[in-house]
Amino acid sequence: MQRIGVFVCWCGTNIAATVDVQAVSDALAKEPGVVLSANYQYMCSQTGQDLIETAIREHALTGVVICSCSPRMHEQTFRKTVARAGLNPYLLEIANIREQCSWIHKDRAQATEKAIILGRAAIAKVQLNTPLQAGQSPVTKRALVIGGGIAGIQTALDIAEAGFAVDIVEKQPTIGGKMTQLDKTFPTLDCAACILTPKMVDCAQNEKIRIFSYSEVEAVSGFVGSFRVTIRKKARYVREDVCTGCGLCTEKCPQKKVPNAFNLGLDTRRAIYIPFAQAVPKVAVIDADYCSMLKNGKCGVCAKVCAAGAIDYTQKDELVECEYGAIVAATGYNPIDLSGYDEFAYSRSPDVVSSLEFERLMNAAGPTGGTLLRPSDKTHPKTIVFVQCVGSRCSAEGKGKTYCSKICCMYTAKHAMLCREKYPDTDVYVFYIDVRTPGKNFDEFYRRAVEEYGVHYIKGMVGKVSPEGGKLKVQASDLLDGRQLHIDADMVVLAAAIEPDKSARPLATMLTASMDTNDFFTEAHPKLRPVESPTAGVFLSGCCQGPKDIPETVAQASAAASKVIGLLSKDSIVCNPCVAQPDELMCNGCSSCEKVCPYGAITYLDKEFRGPNRTTLLRRVAQVNPAVCQGCGACTVACPSGAMDLKGFSNRQIMAEVDAICR
C-alpha cells in the first residue's frame, strides 16, 4: 500500500495569493494513497525541507508530491531532501502550481481547481514511480581534440597542463590552422606567427600531447567516458619518424607548378612540400595529385636526395583506434567561396581578392615577401577599396549567410590601417553596413584607423566592380550623403563571410552532436553551457560553435579544456537513471527501437529463454546501454509492443497523469 505525502508550497504569496493552498492540501488529502497533506510558506527553505524530511520518516512515506514552483527550479533540491530522509530521490513528483498555475491565472477559484488537478496528476504518477539508481560508467583519462588550429592547440595545451593525455587530430599536414596564415592580429598588431608558433612547438614538445597530423576522424562509437575513435592517418609518403624536415626534397622536386594552398594559390610550391617553415610536425608530405612518381611511377627525385631515406612511395592510409573519455570539436572555419559573387568581379580580376588573400599579400612569408603588390601586374596599388559583409548578414532567401561573421570589421580596420601605415600614399576606402567593434580596445582601434590613419569609411554597399583598363571601376552608394560613388581602384578586398569547415557536418553525425542550420555546432545551453555540446562528453572550442576572434577563441578553448579536465578528473560518471529499459520477455527483436535511437544506445543479444513445454527458445532481444541512453524516449514509441519503456516517464505513469488530468 502506498503512503504518499503531499506538500503544498505557498511560495510566500507567489502561489498563495492566487491559489487557496489550504483547499489544495485538503482536497489532495482525500486522494487514494495519500496519508499526509501539508502546506507551508516556503517548502524550499531549510524549515520547509526539514518538514518534508521529518514527515517522510514519521509517516514512513513511500512517495512524495510537492506542489510548488517548476521542477526545473527545485526538482534537484527536493530530490536531495527526499534522499536525506532515506527515500529514493526518484519517488518524488512535483506539481508545477506556480509558473503553470498561480502566475498565469487571476481567478482564485479557477487557479485553485487547477492546482488540485495538477496535484492529483502528480499523485497518480508517483503511485507508479519506482526507485531508480543512477548507474556509473568509467572514464578513460585521455581526451581527443579534433582540429589543430589555435582553438585546438589551446585546449590541448590546457588539458595537458592539468596532467591528462590528449591527442590532436589535424587534417592538414601541420597544426596551426588559419592563424598561421594571418599577418598581424588586431587590436595590438602583433605578429600572428610570433604568438602562435611557440604554442605549436609547445604542443610538439609536450609529452602528454600526441599530434595526428594529416589525419581525420573516421568513426566514433561509445559514449561519454569511453568513446572509441577510429583515426585515419592519411598517407603522406614520407616517414614521419625518419624525416628531419631539412627541406632538400622540397627544393629538388621537379614538379614546380603546384598551387600553394598555404598562400591560397597566390604562388606555387613543389609536389613534395612542407606547408611553411614553422610547420609542426616539420615533416614533408607528397601531394599525390601532382607527384609524377605516384601518378605514373616516373621520377623519384625526392627519394634520391633524401639522406634520411624517409620517402616511402608505397605508404598507405593507416587506421588507428583509440579510446577517449572526452572529445573536443575544434574544426574551425573557412571563408566562403566567393566565386558566386560576380558583381564584385572576384572570378574575373586577380586584383579582387579576399581578406585572407590580402593577409598573405601583406605577410613577409607570403608570395610577395611582404610587399603589397597587385597580383595582376605586381605594381603597388594606389587606391584600395575594402568591401565589408560580403556574404554576411544576407537575407534568408539569397546567397550568403544570415549571420554576422563578427571578425570582418576588425580585420578590415586592421588591413586599412596597415596599408596606410606602410604605404601612406594609398587611398583606402572601406564600405560597410555597420561597423561593429565591441571588445576590449576594439572601438579605439577602429577610430584610430579613421582618425589617425585617414581611412575613408563610407556607409553603403558596393554595387558593382568592373575591371576596365587595368583599373577596377567601383560603383557604390554613400548612404549618409545619399550619392552614388565611382572609384577607380587598383585593388578590391572582399571581407568574405566565414562558415564552419565542411568536415564539421559529418563529424557532428559521428558524434551525434547537434548542429544549427548553418552547420555551427549547437551548445548545450547558449548562455549557461556555451562550451558543451548537448551530447555528453563532447565539447566545443573555437569557430565551430560560431564566429569568433582570436581572444574569444582562446578563451573558449580554455573553457572547453576546463570542462574536459573536470570530466577526466573523475574516475566514473554518474548517469541519468531515467533511461529506456526493454522488457526482454516482450521484445521481439525487430530493431525498430535501434533505428530511431540517436545515440546508438541499443544493441541486440541472442538470448535463451524458457519456452512452453520445457523447450528453450533463442530470441533476439534489445539491450540498452544506460550510460549511452539519454532518455529521449523515441524508442518507446517506435516499439509497437511496448517492450521498450522509459524509466521515470513510463507509459503507465504518463497515462495515469492523463487519466487524473481528464477526470
Binding site: K30, P32, A124, P612, N613, A656, D659, A660, R663
Partner: protein, 340 residues
C-alpha cells in the same frame, strides 16, 4: 397453423414492434445478415443465416456486472444492471435455436446466471425453417431437423407465404396479438419439410460420423498425434469462438477511470493465449493445447457433463469464417479415423 402473405411481412413486423422490440435477420452494410432491431422498411435478409449467431441476444459480447465509485474517500457500489424489455427474435434457424438449449444447460443450471436468465425470460423466439441449406451445414449430423425448428413459434417461408405455428404459451400469447395471421391447414408445411429433409441428406457433410466422439472418449482422443498438424496453422484468433452459437466462455474485466470501476464480463476464447491464465502461468502453453481444448470441449467434455449432447449444432459458421479454414469438421474427420 397460421399463415400470412410474404408481402404482408411488414404489417406483421409492425404489429410485433407495437408490443415489444423485434429483431430480424437483415443485411448489414457489408451485405451480411445480422440480427437487427426492426424498423419500418427493414427487409428480412435472403441469406440462410446470420454472420453472428443468435446467442448474442442472450449472451452479449459485453455485459456490465457492477460498478464502484470513490466518493469523498469512501467506496460506493453502483448498480449497472438494466432489466431488458420484452423482445421477439424472429428468423432464428434450427441450429441457433438448438444452441439456446445448449447455453441453457450452462447458464440456467445452478448457480444460475441471472443476466442470461433475465434475457431468456424476456424473449420470444420465432424460428424459421431452412429451405436452401449451405454446403457447410451439418446440423443433421448433430441431430437437428432444419425443416422443423423448435422455439416459441416456428415459421416456414416459401412461395410467398409465411406459415406460423405457435409451440409454447409464449408463442400462443404472441400469436393472439397478431390478428393478421390467418388460419391454414396443419399440414401446410409438410411438402416443404419433405423437400428440405431430402436436400439435407444430399449435403456433403450430412453423413458426418461422430461415433468416435462423445462422453468417455477423452482418453482415446487426448493424446492423438494429429492435434499437432491440425493446430499448426491456427492463428489463435477468436473468430470461430465468436461466431459460434454455443461457445459460452467469458472473462471478467474492469474498466477504471481513476475514481470509479466498471466491472463487466466479455466473451473470451479458449484459442487466446491468455485464456484461463493464472498467476502460476498458462495451463495450455501452446496453440496445440488450446486448439484441443476447444474441440474436445464441444465433442467430449460437454457431452460428458450434459447427457451426451454435443456442444455443436452444425451451423457451419466456423467453416465459412475461419481465416485458415480449419474447423470442427476437419477435426471430426481427422480424428474419426481410428488407428489400427
Amino acid at each position: 397453423m397460421k399463415q400470412i402473405a410474404k408481402t404482408e411481412l411488414d404489417t406483421l413486423f409492425a404489429a410485433i414492434t407495437a408490443e415489444q422490440k423485434l429483431y430480424i435477420p437483415a443485411d448489414d452494410s457489408a451485405g451480411q445478415a445480422q440480427f437487427t432491431l426492426w424498423r419500418p422498411g427493414l427487409a428480412l435478409s435472403g441469406r440462410l443465416n446470420t454472420a453472428r449467431s443468435a446467442k448474442d441476444l442472450f449472451f452479449p459480447q459485453v455485459e456490465n456486472l457492477v460498478g464502484f465509485r470513490m466518493h469523498a474517500g469512501a467506496i460506493e457500489r453502483v448498480e449497472t444492471r438494466e432489466e431488458p424489455e420484452d423482445f421477439v427474435i424472429f428468423g432464428v434457424r434450427a441450429c441457433d435455436c438448438r444452441s439456446f438449449s445448449i447455453l441453457d444447460r450452462v447458464f440456467l443450471s445452478e448457480p444460475v446466471d441471472t443476466f442470461y436468465q433475465m434475457r431468456r425470460a424476456h424473449a420470444t423466439v420465432v424460428t424459421l425453417a431452412c429451405t436452401r441449406p449451405e454446403e457447410t451445414c451439418f446440423c443433421a449430423a448433430m441431430g437437428v431437423d432444419a425443416a422443423d425448428p423448435a422455439g416459441d413459434v416456428t415459421c416456414w417461408l416459401e412461395d410467398g407465404t409465411l406459415l406460423w405455428r405457435a409451440n409454447t404459451e409464449k408463442g400462443e400469447a404472441l400469436t393472439e396479438k397478431l390478428p393478421m395471421l390467418r388460419p391454414c391447414p396443419a399440414d401446410a408445411a409438410d411438402a416443404q419439410q419433405a423437400r428440405t429433409r431430402a436436400l439435407m441428406q444430399k449435403l456433403p457433410l450430412a453423413k458426418l460420423d461422430l461415433s468416435a466422439f462423445g462422453a468417455g472418449k477423452t482418453r482415446a482422443l487426448f493424446d492423438r498425434p494429429e492435434w499437432a498438424s491440425l493446430s499448426e496453422a491456427c492463428l489463435g484468433c477468436g473468430t470461430c469462438t465468436f461466431v459460434c452459437p454455443t461457445c459460452q466462455c467469458y472473462d471478467v474485466e474492469e474498466f477504471r477511470d481513476g475514481s470509479s470501476v466498471r466491472r463487466f464480463r466479455c466473451w473470451d476464447s479458449c484459442m487466446y493465449s491468455d485464456f484461463t491464465k493464472m498467476s502460476a502461468g498458462q495451463p495450455r502453453p501452446t496453440q496445440r493445447e488450446r486448439f484441443r481444448q476447444r474441440f474436445l470441449h464441444k465433442l467430449v467434455y460437454f457431452p460428458e457433463n450434459n447427457d451426451g449432447v454435443f456442444g455443436c449444432v452444425g451451423c457451419g459458421r466456423c467453416l465459412a469464417k475461419c481465416p485458415i479454414h480449419m474447423n470442427i469438421v476437419k477435426v471430426i474427420k481427422t480424428l474419426g479415423v481410428t488407428h489400427a
